[in-house]
């Protein structure tokens, strides 16, 4: 069951990439950034934030990640490293990709709030492009950024703004940031409310839907088109409930997905939906929900953005990860958890055995399946489906 909003999403994505080209053609600044970086500041300063992970996900979804990874592997980058890194760096080296040669960055901006791998990734890009690079430093926190950590994140945000001003000649204007943050807040509210509609029995959305529609949450927060899209998505989801049109009308199982999706096989969710298995929530899209990216106060937007950068989903320790899992399992009435052990993402995956054990101790059936979000090599779809089916054998609703 296809969402009408998906048509708009396609427009949004092609608009994003044509804007990227427009910025390049007119000599306007382009920053290659990673997902932890708050795009609101970039939009407020008219610097184009090119989210490299997003580009990686696009290569993954188009099943082109391996093709480009091979360029990186030939350059000496090991096959064991994150497939986002390999595929995007490979595309950069090959000067090819779905949009042709990637427009050159003016600057690079990275943050350490998701993994250490990003640091190596940006280093490779930096050596290949030879443009100034800024690292937004974000040490890990237990639950959230506070005290000296928050003060540090505020100072990092300000240091980043100074870097942006210096390297692009663009001026930072707090009032403009407030306007952008206001839109961003409104979109975040809509995203949260859309996610919450999935608490409905049956859920109006499948597991794949929000993975597909998270693009604006990552890359367009604070823009008009983002808000328009999220309104559309919310409205359509709500109408489905009203009209009782559900993608999995008889949900035999309401499962939770932990980790990135397998971008090259989002159809897996459709396949499972046919068997009455619906993924009604996941931890990945929650990373853009209010637990990790809530409303930013307009009184002090820098502090608010710094707070969410510092407390990003992959910057917190296991206790918070477990608390969030337990919370959403309850909220979405989940009866089984599938942990996707993503070979690429150690930062996300390496505590999953522990988390699964702890969930089982709480009476929540949990299994671990292994795959890679982008790399199609060694992907065994049949065995993954079989494993998920064993989880469903633990009892029907």
């Amino acid at each position: 069951m296809r969402l009408e909003a998906t048509g708009n999403l396609k427009k949004l994505i092609s608009g994003y990439y044509s804007d990227l080209k427009k910025y390049a053609d007119s000599g306007k600044p382009i920053a290659w950034v990673n997902v932890g970086i708050p795009c609101e500041i970039f939009y407020a300063m008219d610097i184009f934030p090119f989210y490299v992970e997003n580009y990686g996900a696009m290569l993954g979804a188009r099943k082109e990640a391996v093709k480009y990874s091979k360029f990186a592997e030939t350059d000496g980058v090991s096959k064991h490293t994150c497939s986002y890194l390999r595929s995007t760096y490979g595309s950069l080296l090959s000067k090819e990709g779905p949009i042709g040669k990637l427009p050159e960055p003016t600057i690079l901006v990275e943050t350490s709030n998701s993994c250490v791998t990003v640091l190596s990734w940006w280093r490779l890009i930096e050596k290949a492009t030879n443009v100034p690079c800024f690292l937004f430093d974000s040490p890990m926190v237990e639950y959230e950024s506070s005290g000296n950590h928050l003060a540090y994140q505020v100072s990092e945000t300000k240091r980043m703004i100074r870097f942006l001003e210096e390297k692009t000649g663009k001026r930072f204007d707090l009032n403009r940031l407030k306007e952008v943050v206001k839109i961003s807040n409104e979109g975040k509210r809509l995203w949260r409310e859309t996610m919450e509609l999935r608490t409905n029995h049956p859920s109006p959305l499948t597991g794949a839907d929000l993975f597909t529609h998270m693009f604006p949450m990552v890359a367009l927060r604070g823009t008009e088109q983002y808000l328009e899209h999220l309104r559309m998505l919310y409205k359509e989801t709500k109408e489905r409930i009203k009209r009782k049109e559900f993608p999995v009308a008889k949900e035999k199982h309401r499962f939770l997905w932990d980790n990135l999706p397998i971008w090259h096989d989002l159809r897996l969710f459709e396949e499972l939906a046919k068997k009455g298995i619906n993924f009604v929530t996941d931890t990945y899209t929650q990373a853009w929900g209010d637990k990790f990216m809530g409303e930013v106060s307009l009184d002090d937007p820098i502090k608010g953005l710094a707070y969410y950068t510092g407390g990003g989903f992959l910057n917190v320790h296991i206790k918070k990860r477990l608390a969030v899992l337990l919370d959403i399992i309850k909220l979405y009435d989940v009866d089984g958890v599938v942990f996707h052990a993503d070979r690429s993402c150690k930062s996300y995956s390496l505590i999953q055995v522990q988390l699964a054990d702890q969930l089982r101790q709480n009476g929540i059936p949990s299994i671990i399946i292994e795959a890679d979000h982008n790399d199609t090599r060694d992907y065994n779809r049949d065995s993954i489906i079989a494993r998920i089916e064993t989880l469903s054998e633990m009892g029907e609703r």
Partner: protein, 376 residues
């Protein structure tokens, strides 16, 4: 070498072979850590013994079932040592944000440690005045945590003394490096490794005293009488396999420079007095030390390596990559390009914390020795 000197070397060799026997005689509580960003000075100031845990040689018992197979083998070994109780002689462990595999180990251990002491230092990645302030606060929190947990007091005097002792040790190790680099101290790769790696295992005062005596009493032997003679550098993060270094000895490759996490990168840079206080001084040193690739800044590390190679007349670099160590795996192309630009041949060898096939390693090292093998 005069007798006394070889006696000291023998002692180093014995301790390296069976560190557990040595550690049994330490009469202080022992706190473990896994990488050299955790400041040993703070542990020592609490009158405890700071011990850098190294991968052991025993087969994994439980670690494999508690973490995904694509975690790096060193981290699996560490987790195994923790969960299986092999490290139960420790009073606690301290982690810092190091790599993506070790953050997993830290989290898993946090949930399984029972009541034993555990501390995670939220470590900055860069060295700015703000990050130094931040780390300084965090180190103070670490000291408070140790004090509260063990009901002890970490005084300013104790920290000052611990800094003095660690600095003295660093100077002794750096002197050792310098003599090896200049060719005034000829030593095999396995002995080089034993000596350097023990600096973060043994009691600092005892180690420094022994190393200083070893250096003082060392009498030069001529190159001709020394077997391993092709000078090489070894670069990497965690390479702690004696077998590896012994294989280097066999093929005549002599490590004269190291660029390892527990090696030169742990000792370069002293802690200097800071008006802003002791924690600031410690934070400043650790954030400015030659970084590991997990800090995403390879330039200083490569510059140091290239300089050391130049100063010592080193003929090539062996880059040891632990499988699944993303930071090293991803940065290898950068390192390789830079070294080749400087006309320094490099060979990458990938493996775990143990050498599974010495035959294969031997063949590769022999080939490398042949490639660079201009004898001195």
């Amino acid at each position: 070498m005069i007798d006394n000197c070889s006696a000291i070397l023998d002692e180093f060799r014995t301790i390296r072979k069976t560190p557990e026997t040595y550690l049994k005689n330490i009469d202080k509580p022992i706190i473990g850590y896994f990488e050299t960003y955790v400041p040993e000075e703070i542990i020592a100031a609490a009158n405890m013994h700071p011990l850098r845990i190294s991968p052991d040689n025993a087969p994994i018992t439980i670690g494999n079932s508690k973490i995904e197979s694509f975690a790096c083998p060193v981290s699996i070994n560490f987790l195994d040592q923790l969960l299986s109780g092999k490290l139960s002689f420790l009073q606690g462990v301290i982690f810092s944000r190091y790599c993506d595999s070790m953050r997993g180990v830290a989290d898993i251990w946090q949930e399984n440690r029972g009541k034993s002491f555990y501390h995670f230092i939220p470590y900055p990645t860069i060295a700015t005045s703000e990050s130094i302030n931040f780390l300084s606060d965090e180190l103070e929190k670490l000291a408070e945590h140790i004090s509260d947990y063990f009901n002890t007091k970490i005084s300013e005097e104790a920290i000052t003394e611990a800094i003095r002792i660690s600095n003295k040790k660093r100077l002794a190790v750096l002197k050792f490096y310098d003599l090896v680099k200049k060719g005034e101290l000829l030593i095999s790769s396995s002995d080089f490794f034993a000596i350097v790696s023990l600096a973060t295992i043994m009691d600092s005062i005892e180690y420094t005293e022994k190393l200083e005596r070893f250096i003082d009493q060392y009498e030069p032997v001529s190159n001709q009488n020394f077997g391993s003679n092709i000078k090489v550098a070894v670069s990497g993060i965690m390479l702690e396999s004696m077998q590896f270094f012994e294989t280097m000895d066999k093929v005549g490759l002599r490590m004269t420079v190291d660029d390892l996490m527990f090696g030169s990168r742990a000792f370069k840079g002293l802690i200097s007095k800071e008006k802003a206080g002791l924690y600031q001084a410690i934070a400043k040193r650790y954030l400015n030390k030659v970084p590991c690739s997990v800090k995403g800044n390879l330039d200083l590390r490569i510059d140091e390596l290239v300089n050391d190679c130049r100063e010592s007349g080193t003929k090539g670099v062996i880059f040891y990559i632990v499988t699944f160590c993303d930071s090293e795996e991803a940065e290898y192309p950068i390192l390789k390009k830079r070294l080749l630009e400087k006309k320094i041949p490099v060979i990458a060898i990938e493996g775990g914390y143990r050498i599974s096939s010495t035959g294969q390693l031997l063949t590769r090292l022999e080939a490398f020795a042949e490639q660079i093998g201009e004898r001195l």
